[in-house]
């Protein structure tokens, strides 16, 4: 069934390829049905999941694949992958719905939808893969559709942004595959992730550090962590709305997910050595992203920079190597997916209506399109971590966990990080409210006084309401998510703690 969830979209893409280009309605309908069907499979996975044993891989399939290098078709999901997989499925459906009459120039829904479906297979596959080569294939499969989405349907500077995105992430991938190969040779000639987790600790410390470094580059660029983030604002600014939404909501999570799924459990010792540096870059990212936001004049670029700051909180949670921190990180990923995805949707709709995203030209959205203005305000507050909305549960426990990081990590260092991250929340309030003030409050600028501005229309409602509800529901009932992640995260941190205990014993 998991296999179907992964490959149904690409089958759908093949199906779309057979439909003539002119039959747009049919193309859209098929794409919608395929993504919906995938989401239904996702739902059945969700309901069939054994929450009492969320730390165990479920729905596993394990076949021989590329015998010569002992790479297997091994997929399965636990409590960490499940929410992200569902997020990916839901976001894709909503993006298809939103696209209904929002196809950016040069139109061509056929190609656009095919790319979106291919993208979904890549994303779902990455979250399900339990074999490094398989993971890598899916991880890279995501690049191409996004490259074309930005490069063909993007803004004026799309060529530059698309190539930058592609090169940058591919550079990281190169180092990542390097590390994968090293793991293969050093970790018992296997690419199987669970097997490697069982054996990875045996690799010599120095080698672990190097391998982790390669993985770090691959994942950190994808996240993106400061100072590897500069591809992100360009990609977001130029990407079409749907591209931005998928990029923010799902693609960035591939990086953070990689840390939790691969880098940390396989190489816990190296993770411990790297953690202070990851934490440092994370908190720099929090402040730096916020400063970047304050300097922006373009709404979409501002939201893009805010992603850098938010992913900083996620990475801080991960760097603590604690159950609290990693739970917060997974929650933060989902919350950021919902909230920032929603913000990009709104930014896209604003651009469509006003023809600009310049903050200085906008104003009085609450007067012309009150519902959209309300939604923007709602998301801004969710994004700044207001309790009762989803963002809070990614942010607060991450800050909390930094007070007492995993054994062996310097408390003083991480407490300093905690303080910086907490100060980052003030900055977050600063730039988000500033944006809200510029866009939603005030009066309409003279140039748009006569413009006929539609409030939210039907496809937008259908695409947005699930996200808004998700933000609210996860904010009030965080355990809906934590009950999935907690057990699985404990498995990861137990591995880290075991090594910590062994290391301490050896040190004595």
């Amino acid at each position: 069934m998991l296999t179907a969830a992964v490959f149904l979209p690409i089958v759908g893409a093949a199906l779309l390829a057979l439909i003539p280009r002119e039959r747009e309605e049919m193309l859209k309908a098929v794409a919608l049905v395929v993504t919906l069907a995938t989401a239904v499979i996702g739902l059945s996975l969700l309901f069939g999941f054994d929450y009492g044993d969320a730390g165990r891989l479920q729905y596993t399939v394990n076949h021989g694949w590329i015998e010569v290098i002992n790479s297997r078709y091994h997929i399965g999901i636990d409590g960490i992958s499940l929410p992200l997989l569902i997020l990916s499925m839901v976001i894709t459906v909503l993006c298809v719905i939103y696209s209904w009459d929002h196809f950016p120039e040069p139109h061509n829904p056929k190609a656009f939808l095919i790319l979106m479906l291919v993208l979904e297979t890549g994303m779902n596959g990455t979250f399900a893969a339990q074999d490094l080569i398989l993971f890598f294939v899916f991880f890279e499969l995501v690049l191409l559709p996004m490259y074309f989405m930005i490069g063909v349907w993007g803004g004026p500077n799309r060529q530059y942004a698309a190539i930058k995105f592609f090169l940058y992430t591919l550079f990281g991938s190169a180092l990542m595959i390097l590390s994968f190969l090293a793991l293969y040779f050093k970790g018992g000639q296997t690419f199987d992730i669970p097997l490697l987790i069982a054996q990875g600790g045996a690799i010599a410390h120095g080698t672990q550090l190097l391998i982790f470094g390669g993985l770090f580059m691959g994942f950190a660029i994808k996240v993106p962590m400061f100072p590897f983030h500069t591809w992100l604002p360009d990609a977001h600014t130029e990407a079409p709305t749907v591209g931005s939404v998928i990029l923010a909501a799902v693609l960035l999570k591939l990086g953070t997910y990689g840390f939790i799924r691969i880098a940390i459990p396989i190489l816990p010792e190296a993770a411990r050595s790297w953690a202070p540096w990851i934490g440092l870059l994370a908190v720099i990212g929090i402040i730096y992203g916020a400063l970047g936001c304050l300097a922006q004049r373009d709404m979409k670029r501002l939201i893009a920079f805010s992603s850098v700051a938010h992913m900083g909180f996620v990475m801080l949670g991960i760097a603590t190597l604690t159950t609290f921190g990693i739970n917060a990180a997974v929650f933060g990923m989902v919350a950021h997916g919902l909230i920032t995805g929603m913000l990009f949707f709104i930014a896209g709709s604003i651009q469509e209506r006003f023809g600009t995203r310049e903050l200085s030209r906008l104003g009085g959205l609450l007067l012309q399109a009150p519902r959209m203005g309300w939604m923007l305000g709602f998301c801004a507050f969710a994004s700044l971590g207001l309790p009762g909305l989803a963002g809070f549960w990614g942010e607060f426990p991450a800050i909390l966990s930094a007070y007492q990081p995993a054994a062996g990590l310097s408390e003083a260092t991480f407490r300093a990080y905690m303080a910086v991250a907490a100060i980052g929340t003030v900055f977050a309030a600063g730039y988000l409210l500033w944006m809200l003030q510029r866009v939603a409050f005030g009066v309409v600028k003279p140039e748009f006084e006569k413009a006929h501005i539609h409030d939210v229309h039907i496809p937008e409602y259908i695409a947005w309401v699930p996200l808004l509800l998700g933000i609210l529901v996860f904010g009030i009932f965080p355990h809906l998510l934590f009950q999935m992640t907690d057990a699985a995260v404990s498995v990861v941190t137990h591995g880290v703690d075991a090594v910590g205990a062994a290391g301490a014993a050896a040190g004595r």
Binding site: I163, Y168, A295, Q296, G364, Y403, T425, F441
Partner: protein, 655 residues
């Protein structure tokens, strides 16, 4: 009834939802929902209070805890802890909020976002009540932040004007700056108390020495930063006068029962932590007492130089909050809570009264008022009652609570705080005299046709005037019920500092000082007014007579007021506007400038430049990028794969 106390925050929360979704379709546009909800909550709170006072001593707190979820072995829960303090707060918050709701039907009549306003009022109240009933610090923080959100919505209610949304943002950001401390403080105490958010446990652990003193001091200092932001303590008070941009009923709610008292409530609620952390029992001085004392004086000075009636009241609130914090700092817990209680009534009364004035003359400025006594008899009478109560004149509410604070400072060994308290009493009386003079005495200086406000606004004033007069008697010598009802008790831990018997000499002294303030101020302000001033305002007759009888003092103090107080007040205001505000603005501007530099120079040129440079050199160097641009992505990928494989081999060989 007390075991149903969770209904008290829940009802306004539901009211918020109902008003938000159905308010516009209802005959009264949602106001009726809010008023009904608050009436219900108030009745439940009142019944709860009756039950509480009827309980046998020692009264045990009514608690309930619902486990919310478990994460990493830690239990997160929502619950309530209803003791005397919480009961008192529930009554005050629901009562003031109900009055504000009723008043708003008149004041906000015809407003473009009338329904929305009532929805926000309900949410505001619900958030504050959630904070009040909280039995753990996490829930308290959630309520605390939601209060902040609502204040943002309400201060910026008329967001069409940039000034208003700017004030809303300033309030939110300034309080959130303090919240950095709150958040980290809660985290520190969470770990110190063995991964526990429970408030009673925290107090217990702090008082029994389970938490080390160093950690406790750090935690208390951090929490106090949050308190300074929320309760507008010097120097984080700068947001509060700006918050007057919101509609006046909101100001009343913010200043009397919600938002700003949240900080005081937090200190009172976690008093075990503050008491031990700051070693309050030693006497002398400590951070809490000092910040409170500074706030008393600095804010009171500022109140003298305002023309906007709401700003006078705003600085007055800051100053009175300083009293409460100072009281907590000197170990006078009951006095602080009692002052919170009495202050809520007369300050709500004063704010609603000022709203009534503003409603009548369409201006906030006292220079455009004058002679309002003739036009608005109800507003006049009730405003005077509020002013006298605030000034601390026997036997009105403010007298008793202020007296207890002074007594606490005196008996617990804080002589400096006693002096500050007396000085504050003097200044409070003086600036309220000035305000009343400018508003009610003389001739009308505006251009409109002032009229008394409609009954929906006048009645809340009349009702609030009753507790403004009587609330203080609740703890008057011989009665002392308040102290018995609202006692801070932790089972198994002895009381903090003993309650002190009423001290007549001190009471008379503070009363004399307050009267002196009135006398000197009236002498000063009325000197310019040529005739019949003592006939205009009865309360000033007394002050005037005192002044005439002791003329030699008059000259002296007039010289003081004119020669010293004004320059100091003006200088303080200048410092406030230019230095403190300048710092805030400077930080904002600096952050923006810094952001610009970081963005333009570091981000765009250096980091991005490196990336672009790498790309460019690759392009110049030959082929890779051009291949990519011409679409040969796969080739490039293959190349990278190959290179990676080679490097991997190298790595394996080397290690």
């Amino acid at each position: 009834m007390l075991d149903k106390a969770w209904l008290i925050p829940l009802i306004p929360a539901l009211s918020f939802v109902v008003i938000l979704f159905f308010g516009k379709r209802l005959p009264k546009k949602g106001a009726e929902v809010g008023i009904t909800a608050l009436s219900l909550s108030f009745v439940i709170a009142l019944l709860g209070a009756l039950e509480w006072t009827g309980k046998e001593v020692p009264r045990e707190a009514v608690t309930a805890h619902h486990e919310w979820f478990e994460l990493g072995g830690v239990h997160f829960g929502a619950g309530m802890h209803i003791d005397g303090l919480a009961v008192m707060m529930l009554v005050v918050v629901t009562f003031i909020s109900l009055m504000v709701h009723i008043y708003s039907t008149g004041y906000m009549h015809g407003d473009r976002r009338y329904t929305y306003f009532f929805a926000a009022l309900s949410l505001f109240t619900a958030a504050m009540l959630l904070l009040v009933v909280a039995d753990n610090t996490l829930q308290l923080m959630i309520g605390w932040e939601l209060v902040g959100l609502c204040s943002f919505m309400l201060i910026g209610h008329w967001w069409e004007e940039g000034v208003n949304s700017g004030a809303a943002i300033k309030a939110f950001i300034t309080t959130r700056t303090g919240d950095v401390g709150l958040m980290t403080g809660i985290i520190t105490l969470f770990f110190a108390a063995g991964r526990n958010f429970d408030i009673e446990h925290l107090n217990h652990a702090a008082l029994t020495g389970e938490i080390g003193h160093g950690t406790l001091l750090v935690g208390a200092c951090l929490l106090f930063l949050g308190v300074m932001g929320k309760s507008a303590q010097f120097p984080l008070h700068v947001w509060l006068p700006d918050a007057m941009a919101g509609p006046t009923p909101v100001s009343a709610l913010i200043h009397a029962a919600t938002m700003v008292v949240a900080g005081v409530y937090l200190v009172a609620r976690l008093y075990g932590v503050f008491f031990t952390g700051f070693s309050i029992e030693v006497g002398g001085t400590n951070l809490v007492a000092i910040i409170g004392a500074m706030t008393v004086i600095i804010a009171a000075l500022l109140a003298f130089v305002q023309d906007d009636v709401k700003k006078v009241l705003a600085y007055s609130t800051v100053s009175q909050l300083g009293y409460m914090i100072m009281a907590l700092g000197v170990g006078a817990w009951t006095a602080a809570v009692f002052h919170l209680f009495t202050h809520a009534f007369f300050k709500a009364l004063l704010f609603l009264g000022s709203g009534s004035l503003i409603h009548a003359v369409h201006s906030n400025n006292m220079s455009e008022m004058g002679g309002m006594r003739k036009f608005m008899p109800t507003t006049y009478k009730t405003f005077m009652i509020g002013s006298v109560a605030l000034a601390g004149i026997f036997p009105l509410a403010g007298f008793w609570s202020k007296d207890e604070i002074l007594l606490g400072a005196h008996e617990n060994g804080f002589p400096l705080m006693l002096i500050v308290g007396l000085l504050g009493a003097f200044m409070t009386a003086a600036y309220m005299t000035r305000a009343c003079y400018l508003i009610f005495a003389g001739e009308y200086r505006g251009h409109g046709h002032p009229h008394e406000s409609p009954p929906s606004m006048a009645w809340p004033l009349r009702i609030l005037a009753v507790p403004a007069v009587l609330a203080g008697l609740l703890n008057a010598p011989g009665i002392e019920l308040f102290h018995k009802w609202v006692e801070f008790e932790i089972p198994g831990v002895p009381a903090f500092l003993p309650e002190h018997a009423f001290n007549p000499a001190l009471a008379v002294g503070s009363l004399a000082i307050a009267l002196l303030g009135i006398a000197l101020a009236s002498a000063y302000y009325f000197r310019g007014a040529l005739n019949g001033l003592s006939q205009r305002v009865p309360i000033l007759q007394t002050g005037h007579r005192v002044l005439v009888n002791k003329y030699y003092l008059d000259d002296l103090f007039l010289a003081i007021i004119r020669g010293i107080q004004y320059p100091i007040a003006k200088a303080a205001y200048w410092v406030n506007q230019n230095v403190l505000d300048g710092v805030i603005n400077g930080v904002g501007k600096g952050a923006q400038a810094g952001a610009k530099v970081v963005y333009e120079v570091i981000d765009q040129r250096i980091i991005d430049g490196a990336v672009n440079g790498a790309g460019l050199s690759a392009e110049e160097g030959g082929s890779i990028l051009r291949h990519l641009q011409t679409g040969r992505v796969q080739q490039y990928a293959a190349l990278l794969f190959g290179a990676a494989a080679v490097l991997a081999m190298g790595l394996v060989v080397l290690t």
